[in-house]
Symmetry: C2
Subunit: 453 residues, 2 copies
């Protein structure tokens, strides 16, 4: 830390902290990964602050690790090589709402619920909804998604432009305000999902949507996971434009009931949402109901009333926390594979079997319209034997997915936890990714130790 005095010259005193408690807060996130302390935590207030800081770090070869709100599930913000934790909590403003362009320009430290609170005044909403109330900078860094991706796309699909500070401190824009472009290389797409390893985001211009005229929520229960999955695949194949379609298995329903005080039937369940006009919704839901009954659906409960709808979705959205808080002292390891739709039923059944075989407690749920599902595994991170079993389950679930053309991470990102699968998943292309990293960050200061081993 012989660089600290020089670093202090770049910023005001209250923007730099070496206090034990502040560093401790920036040593970990919601994941099960081992914490690691940064040397120092810095709170930038402008793009220029970030630019100065990164140029300095590059000059001295000091690691720079961006920090949003710490909701990563794969240890993205853990400074495994020390250095500077760059906390964006003071860069949390909405800079511009452009309702006629269906765009919003924000700083990276703002969270998605804050953005939606503002957009509601314009009859607009931002579509991406990971479980956590993550920052938009963090969501762009990991290419986050959530329940609405099946209709509105993932984070990458919403990013129209990023202001990025590169390793040498220079500032670029990766896109523009136009809805489409064939002009030059797709830097938007390259930086989204780059997990802080190619540059640091200082501003985001994002696509937003008009709040649909009407919404309808459905809870559909099934005798087994297979009939639930098959129903979902059929609904998508016939082109019914569902806005959300989520699978929740038996154990997960139990956790929901325990956490939310609901009394849903403990059986595999689909939560579905339709967006559109009233007449279209009724017909879509009617068609979906027929398809579901045909596959053995037990209950098909529709809710158009907004309060009842909110209640239904609250249950689904809090599921991660329902698991995390269900056994004191335990943490959650979550798998995040995504497979082709035709492999989904088999993959979910396989995951349930693996959990059982390895004597773990874990439920399956997921964004099955995209073929993305999670196995939430409860574990005591200090119990190395239990941790090893959970890691084996994760590895076997990943292996199953990769063998079928799937991916080791559908939406949580690589971070620390999925590095070991990168070479296998990408083959020769992994070396090309390393070439990009080397070209963008020759000294390796940008979030070192993430994505690449």
């Amino acid at each position: 830390m012989n660089y600290l005095n020089d670093l202090r010259q770049l910023l005001r005193d209250d923007q730099v902290s070496v206090s034990e408690s502040v560093r401790e807060l920036h040593s970990k996130n919601e994941s099960y990964h081992t914490p690691a302390l940064p040397d120092v935590v810095v709170f930038p207030e402008s793009t220029e602050d970030v630019s100065r800081l990164v140029a300095f770090a590059n000059d001295r070869e000091i690691p720079v690790v961006p920090f949003g709100i710490g909701s990563s599930l794969e240890g993205h913000a853990i400074p495994v090589h020390g250095g500077v934790s760059l906390d964006f909590q003071r860069m949390n403003q909405i800079l511009e709402v452009r309702p006629d362009d269906l765009l919003i320009r924000v700083q990276p430290g703002i969270t998605r619920t804050e953005v939606n609170k503002e957009l509601k005044k314009y009859g607009l909403f931002f579509s991406v909804d990971p479980g956590a109330d993550a920052t938009l900078g963090g969501m762009a860094a990991t290419n986050a998604s959530g329940t609405t991706a099946v209709r509105y796309g993932v984070m990458r699909d919403q990013v129209r432009d990023l202001e990025v500070v590169l390793a040498d401190g220079s500032i670029i824009h990766t896109g523009g305000l136009a809805a489409k472009s064939s002009s030059g290389y797709h830097l938007n797409g390259l930086f989204v999902g780059s997990e802080g390893t190619l540059g640091v985001f200082t501003e985001l211009t994002l696509r937003v949507y008009g709040i649909p005229e009407e919404m309808m929520a459905v809870r559909a229960t099934f005798p087994d996971v297979e009939s639930a999955v098959q129903t979902a695949v059929t609904i998508l194949s016939v082109g019914i434009p569902v806005a959300k379609i989520e699978l929740v298995d038996e154990l997960s329903i139990q956790k929901i009931n325990a956490h939310n005080g609901t009394s849903y039937e403990v059986t595999p369940t689909l939560f579905i949402e339709f967006h559109g006009n009233t007449a279209g919704l009724v017909q879509d839901a009617q068609f979906a109901r027929e398809l579901a009954l045909d596959k053995g659906c037990l209950i098909f409960q529709q809710e158009i009333d907004s309060k009842a709808r909110a209640q239904l979705w609250e249950a689904r959205h809090h599921l991660y926390y329902a698991f995390a808080h269900s056994v004191p002292g335990k943490r959650v390891m979550t798998t995040d594979v995504c497979v082709p739709l035709s492999e989904l039923a088999g993959a979910v059944r396989n995951a349930q079997q693996i959990v059982q075989e390895l004597q773990l407690e874990g439920g399956v749920l997921g964004h099955i319209g995209d073929g993305n599902y999670h196995t939430l595994l409860l574990l005591n991170p200090n119990d190395s034997e239990e941790l090893a079993r959970a890691e084996e389950a994760n590895a076997r679930i990943v292996e199953f997915a990769l063998a079928r053309g799937g991916t080791c991470t559908g939406e949580h990102g690589v971070g620390l936890g999925k590095r070991k699968y990168q070479q296998k998943e990408h083959g020769e292309a992994y070396h090309l990714m390393a070439t990009i990293k080397k070209a963008f960050d020759p000294k390796g200061i940008l979030n070192p130790g993430k994505i690449f081993s």
Copy 2:
């Protein structure tokens, strides 16, 4: 061409041609750009053919220029530095249809209508529809789009995986079969739109869609361009999920009538298409009609019958050729800017004024749901004075778009024609693009002279 004998060792005799007429065919495309002859034309039949050829070319530092069907409007396939034209006409197979995964795997030389003919058997369709019957490899190279992008997205949104031969002849896959991924850098997005400058595509896995239950086409006429554009923007803002929404101005309607024998009212017109279920469509169209009438719509003609629909859209789809063939000996230069929706009405009016001021013949039409419009300018490519005026019009239209956060090319790509605007549009990011190019293709053999000046 002292390399020709060695090149012949790599392939069968009938895969290599130096005939004047074959080289002539590969010297140009549909654009107004000056032709340039390749040294030799090669017809690969497999990924291995391409790999061997590219490795050889890299070794000898010979330019390699992929050629699809020659429908580029910006000279992408013109071998401005000579070398090898790589014609994909023999790699035109559908390799696999995966209806349950809503995916199709194809070779790059197949055209979009051939793909759709096959998909129809499964009740599926491929959404991207540029004016020309382009090859899918070419469409991926330029990130093509067309009328349906407003609902289904552009070419980049459909690409799940590419098999790519890199400059050194190695073969990679850029993605997988999963609908979402947060695993590693977004190589899919980087290669789509790279115009043959980063690698050569040998296989594409693409997303397809279920054919919607019902479609409805609408022709809506307006007293002026502004009320037409405002209607389009309002329809999008309230969230009516139109599948297509196209503007055609007065002159373009005249060309349509002359080319197709129709007698549409000569006034700014919106062509709209709705996809969905019957009840929803009727309500969507009804709502759109109210919004249109409110803005001064003169006629709002609905067609649900598939023949009448096809007729309506045929008119729109053939517009480029209607222009191109309307005056013998003339060719078309088309602008391709894309602007934020709030700037669209002003941009279209501005374009019309520029055409008038410069005494050119040119109509405006476009995919206005995305803010993307074209000014089709008729010119005699041998009349250098007329060409200069057309280029000035193009430049002024681009300048207007860039000043408002737009792009110089919404869907046609950079090629030769838009190189001169890259630095201005991308600023510092342009240098980062050059860094990528250098890292991927250190010897500069891959389609040299495109994108970068």
